[in-house]
Symmetry: C2
Subunit: 415 residues, 2 copies
């Protein structure tokens, strides 16, 4: 379901609050001065997490990985700040992450091990623990902004809008809610760490099933977003299950639950891609006809990362040679003589206003209408479908066009 941000709520059993504690400096204020968010459950939740694969991991990533290893069956809350990533901060950064959890636990009357921590913002600076302590105290006061819409805004950095998504799932006549929000636009800006997602459900799900569902959902959604190819030190997706619906997701229900969770995460993924730094359009790249999904993903990702493809989309230029070229160097097994490329709506999932224009068939350019092809690249979303002609596997990735504004945003940061 598509929520207006103002009516957005979490799943049953959760509440959220936000406050502005001054961690965001004016130069990185973004669209909201809120910079501290709390998501708290009425009781212990099962929890799952998917984290950055960057070898340089921020302190909260290391902290949460440790907590989920020890205590995935009993998480109560997530405390998240924007403005400072607490990355490249050494042992003191780890102490600060622990302290964030401890301060939050204190106000909630739970154990520190029941609190997970998220941070996003400038790299290489220590958290101002004084401001943070005040902010955490404020979150349980009437001075805080209560409600999920405020929490969704508080974790934003260069995002131009909050990103939320909900899905309802029918399990044998009983309803389960999945509801989440996220942030992320450029991968890091001004030294910002990027993608944070907080997802809640009121289902009862064992930790290992919850982890499997989240892993699969993120791999098919947020991990298929490419804004600029940069991967952050802080990327984290957390999923808490409160059990408040009374509906149990066992092995039999897991596929349906995972599918709904994946849809929720795809909605979030599209919002991230569309809100890429300097982006003007969402670009959805689907590679079909691959020998396996991994190969399809490799080719789609190579196309999505190509600055030449993304600038061509920005200019509305049907430069199909750039797409084939990016496919060719992806490293995947392709046969140039079997490639077919279509701009706009093709025989594939999704819908779009612009009719399909096939520009390449079996490796050779077709005789196509240049203006119609250009129109497909000016529509939103832009749909690019490359058929490898080798098998039945497919994959979709999401990205955005590449505008001069991206350069402006990322070049002109005064320290």
């Amino acid at each position: 379901m598509t929520d207006s941000i103002d009516t957005f709520t979490l799943a049953q059993g959760f509440r959220a609050a936000a406050t502005a504690c001054g961690l965001k400096t004016s130069s990185v204020m973004g669209a909201s001065s809120l910079d501290l968010a709390l998501v708290v459950a009425e009781g212990p939740c099962t929890a799952a997490g998917v984290f950055t694969t960057n070898r340089v991991k921020a302190a909260p990533v290391l902290y949460d990985q440790e907590m989920l290893t020890r205590n995935a069956g009993g998480i109560r809350a997530i405390i998240a700040n924007a403005g400072n990533a607490n990355a490249c901060t050494g042992p003191r950064g780890m102490d600060d992450a622990r302290q964030m959890a401890a301060l939050t636990a204190q106000t909630l009357g739970c154990r520190p091990a029941e609190v997970l921590v998220l941070s996003t913002g400038v790299i290489g600076r220590h958290l101002d623990m004084h401001k943070l302590a005040q902010g955490i105290a404020d979150l349980s006061s009437p001075a805080a902004q209560h409600g999920a819409p405020f929490a969704a805004r508080a974790i934003m950095t260069t995002d131009t809008r909050p990103k939320v998504s909900r899905r309802q799932l029918d399990i044998g006549g009983q309803l389960v809610m999945i509801s989440g929000f996220c942030k992320g636009s450029g991968m890091i800006h001004p030294n910002m760490a990027t993608m944070l997602a907080i997802i809640t459900t009121d289902a009862i799900v064992a930790p290992e099933l919850l982890q499997a569902a989240l892993r699969s959902a993120i791999d098919h959604s947020i991990n298929r977003v490419s804004v600029d190819g940069d991967m952050s030190t802080n990327d984290t997706a957390l999923l808490l299950a409160s059990g408040a619906s009374g509906v149990t997701i066992g092995a039999d229900e897991l596929p349906a639950f995972t599918a709904a969770l994946t849809e929720t995460c795809i909605e979030l993924a599209k919002q991230i891609a569309r809100d890429g730094e300097g982006a003007t359009r969402l670009v959805e790249i689907t590679v079909t006809g691959a020998l396996d999904e991994s190969q399809a993903h490799t080719v789609a990702d190579s196309i999505a990362r190509s600055p030449l493809v993304k600038t061509a989309v920005h200019g509305g230029d049907p430069n199909w040679g750039r797409v084939l070229c990016a496919a060719g160097y992806s490293g995947a097994a392709i046969d140039p003589d079997k490639l077919s490329l279509t701009f706009g709506l093709a025989d594939r999932p999704g819908d779009n206003d612009s009719p399909a224009v096939q520009v390449v068939s079996n490796g050779l350019p077709t005789i196509y209408d240049q203006r119609a092809a250009a129109a497909t690249l000016r529509s939103d979303p832009v749909l690019i479908t490359l058929d490898l002609g080798l098998g039945d596997a497919w994959a979709t990735v999401w990205t955005c066009d590449f505008s001069a504004e991206y350069i402006e945003i990322n070049a002109h940061y005064t320290t």
Copy 2:
């Protein structure tokens, strides 16, 4: 040695000519209307070639690979055109490449198998063989522009200047010349295929030794250039050895020959990086302290490909977090706590006006002078040295900064 372009010559035993036959359209004219170049040897040469690894290979690439398999001991000439890449052109494209060689052989009085072919330009359009035939005929007439400087200009597409390099090598008191030219700026623009290099030497070198030398030289030079991460369908480096010096390069002399050839190619590589589309500065990234050269190269390449690093350089912003982040996701084995990062001249090969500023030591930011650090990123070349602290291996890659002009160049192409 650094030549002025006007005094640039090939090695003994070679001559060059160029003409304008109308393959370059006005929109892709670049800095020269010359679009057809011929390099011809007095007698048969040994020859070596290194080609794009893109799975989508242009017709001339496939043609040259075939000729070098059959006839690497007897190549007489290279015919090269700009304006049309003869890529994604199917069987007719292969026929056209063969015809280019045959027409050239006819004017030179040699066999078609003695002629190699290079093309760069728009992808997916058939060569105008009528114009090309006229151009090839003109090359042996007084109407042609004779001399290597003209050939170096004729292969340019979006390059803003010709790129040439020469080295003299002393082999037991006898001199050997290595001299080459190349083109390449953005990887493809407007649907342009990219890097072409033609290198000549007057040494006597057996084909297998010549191939080994070229492979090593290109791998340590032009294959370490990253302008935008895109790899073309046409990238080709060819090396012809005329033997005119009478000096034989055997196994004993091969290391010295390869070293000189590598230096020549590094000079060309730097010229390519500095002339990247929209580039304002050459950026030289050296990764030291790696376990092996391959890991060093992987990390350096990841940094060089990061749009966030390249925009930070453009803005003169010492955003060291972006460099560490790109190292972290490179896939190489790194230990975040052992990373040290220096901007400007460090304890490494090369020289630069800006003094070194170490910004990270053992994974943590140092207390450094922000203005001095920013100054290192505004110097040319910009030197970035990341010490992984793990071993003794190192690698250098070359790239350029990323400016808004890159987007302008690549987005606004009217078909």
